[in-house]
Amino acid sequence: MIDILLLLIIVACAIAAVSIKDLLSAIMILGVYSFIMATIFTRLNAVDVAFTEASVGAGITSVLMIAALSRTKRYEYLYTKSERRKPSALFLKVLSLFIVIITGAVLVYGTLDMPEFGDPDAPANKHVSPRYIEESHHETGVNNFVTAVLASYRGYDTLGETTVIFTAGICVILLLRKFKKDDDDRYAGICY
């Protein structure tokens, strides 16, 4: 029952985050969204993921967003009625709705053949993962299977993940650090 309640709340959060015009509030609600998501993860026994989502997803993302917001504008532009009725705006809306509905319909169509929720005989639980559950303790000596897989079996994904952080870090530094202008800026005089 509590699961259903959580899901309802999270849907409400998502709708609220998306529709509110005050971006600061939207960001806060997004934080709440992440946090409830972490709770749901815990309910689904994904404790490691829940930790990460709560700290990284809800925490860091919110902090970053607020930091960004502090340097830009807090309120989203309110379109007037006439602006909202312009053909281009309407077209965009209809197009996005169309895309979204199609995508959603395709996804729902896919679920028709899905194994039931929690089915222990689902292929996802049968083929590769049993070995992680049965052997990883012997093979790696770690009690937590998730950690074992993360660090050992799929260690290179983790290396990739680290690289992603590094790449993002360098990009952010590149974008935000104030660099001195070049002394001899050859582009200064050229217009094209």
Partner: protein, 508 residues
């Protein structure tokens, strides 16, 4: 011996390590990042060549990362197809690094250069990772590495439009990546595995499953976004136009090619062709879409006044050729498609390098600015002519080789009505290329008030009289690519041999 066996992982790990080192040593010497980037990409090129030779000798290489056998661990699987693409990517990366020094010095703030080379290396690593890995989730991770690096590279551009272009690319790229993630989820749910070879074995039994179908749809849409297939190309023109020349060059020559590779791998390597034929008409949809891409991309290219934007649209058309050849799904067309990965990398690389040379020397990005440039920069313009003719698909250039294969493949597939599409693409290419070539060599007399603007200096110079060629450090690599455009146009035996093997492998 040991070293040789570790090559598949070294080609990823070495550039990764040096990517970290570059910003550290960048403070010591301004030239050092460039030297490292060139050396390491050259090294990667050598590794990829040796991998290719090994593959040709012994067949598929399977490298188990961390010693865990697939499907439990991650596998780097190298066969004809990705060995070939790996060589293309690392070669272009090497050539572009060689070329980059002067262009980067001019177009990028000096203090950002070491960061630039760092991201550049990460970008290449990401691309090579996508190509080499045999694990579908690993593809996602590397895709994100290369994409993030790509956003950074584009944002380095000097004009403020670059930021917006980068942001647009980021949004669409992230949507694409998330689509791919959904696809991975669905397919994992259906099969319980992430290893590509394992997937290929387990999928045929599940072809009737709706999950598999949806997974394919999401992969196709996600990858089409990434490789800028026609209606989903919105991010590409802006990104190529506003990025620094070197970045446009590397992205045009490698990034979309790797996207195409991923598409080939997933549509044919994971799902097999029977699936397309018997379960959904995805091949037919893609034939229509790619034909549209060929025509629309080339037609839009004609309408452009900015040289880089024109080349960007022409890329969209050329990507159409690659996808068209692939989805015709017979050996000849597939060979054409695979070889076009190399050919388009060569010619588009050369063209963007030419643009870099022009910008370096004159700052001109407008097509009209090329007026009479033939006298001023004869070598650069000769390269432009060669690569341009190649775009038109003139015999003895690489462009003809791929078009020939794709056209004959279309006929063999019983789709003769695609010939007009291919031909129209060529003709439209002739319009936008020849227009420029004429302007280069047969400059029109301008009315007096439209005098040519040239260098940043106030001096008015006449293109016709002055010889002012780009530095050899830029010209050398550019000419090298043009020479290869002709060499592989005359004697395409070696790449064809590999492409054919790859095609056979994909279609069996």
């Amino acid at each position: 011996m040991k070293f040789i066996q570790e090559l598949p992982v070294l080609i990823i790990v070495i550039p990764l390590i040096f990517a970290v080192i570059i910003p550290l040593v960048g403070r010591l010497n301004r030239l050092l990042p460039w030297i490292i980037a060139s050396t390491i990409t050259f090294f990667c090129f050598l590794i990829s060549i040796s991998l290719l030779i090994t593959v040709l000798d012994t067949g598929r290489i399977s490298y188990w990362l961390g010693g865990w056998e697939p499907p439990w661990g991650i596998e780097y699987a190298i066969d004809y197809l990705n060995a070939f693409v790996l060589v293309v990517v690392s070669f272009i990366a090497f050539i572009v690094s060689l070329y980059s020094r002067r262009s980067v010095e001019l177009e990028i703030n000096k203090n950002k250069i070491s960061a630039f080379y760092c991201i550049y290396m990460l970008f290449i690593t990401g691309l090579m990772g996508i190509v080499i890995t045999g694990d579908i989730f690993n593809i996602y991770v590397f895709l994100e590495i290369s994409s993030l690096a790509g956003y950074g590279l584009i944002a380095i551009g000097r004009k403020r439009e670059a930021l917006v272009a980068s942001y647009n690319y980021l949004i669409l790229g992230t949507i694409a990546a998330t689509f791919i993630l959904i696809g991975i989820g669905y397919i994992y749910m259906a099969t319980g595995t992430l290893n590509i070879a394992d997937l290929q074995e387990r999928l045929p039994a599940l072809f009737h499953s709706k999950m598999v179908l949806v997974a394919l749809a999401f992969f196709t849409v996600g990858l089409s976004l990434k490789l800028a297939l026609f209606p989903l190309h919105a991010w590409l023109p802006g990104a190529y136009t506003h990025a620094p020349s070197v970045v446009s060059c590397i992205m045009a020559a490698t990034a979309t090619k790797v996207g195409v590779y991923a598409m080939l791998r997933i549509i044919f390597g994971v799902f097999r062709i029977e699936f397309d034929i018997h379960f959904i008409p995805i091949a037919n949809i893609l034939i229509v879409v790619s034909s549209m891409a060929i025509i629309a991309g080339s037609a839009l290219a004609i309408a452009q006044t900015n040289l880089k934007r024109m080349l960007a649209y022409s890329s969209i058309g050329q990507i159409g050729y690659i996808v068209l050849g692939a989805v015709l799904a017979n050996q000849i067309a597939m060979t054409g498609s695979i070889i076009h990965i190399l050919n388009h990398a060569l010619m588009k690389g050369a063209l963007f390098m030419v643009v870099g040379c022009i910008i370096y020397k004159t700052g001109i990005e407008d097509i009209s600015g090329l007026r009479g440039m033939g006298k001023k920069m004869p070598f650069t313009m000769a390269v432009f002519t060669v690569a341009g003719l190649s775009m038109m698909g003139v015999p003895l250039t690489v462009g003809f080789v791929s078009k020939w294969y794709i056209a004959i493949g279309a006929l063999n597939a019983g789709m003769g009505y695609l010939i007009p599409v291919i031909i129209t693409g060529s003709l439209l290419a002739a319009v936008y290329v020849w227009r420029i070539i004429v302007n280069i060599y047969f400059p029109e007399e301008l009315p007096k008030h439209e005098l040519q603007y040239t260098d940043g200096g106030a001096e008015i110079t006449d293109h016709k009289s002055q010889y002012s060629e780009a530095p050899w450090s830029m010209l050398g690599p550019t000419i090298a690519l043009a020479v290869l455009c002709i060499y592989f146009g005359i004697s395409a035996t070696a790449p064809l041999y590999i492409a054919e093997k790859a095609a056979v492998m994909l279609l069996q």
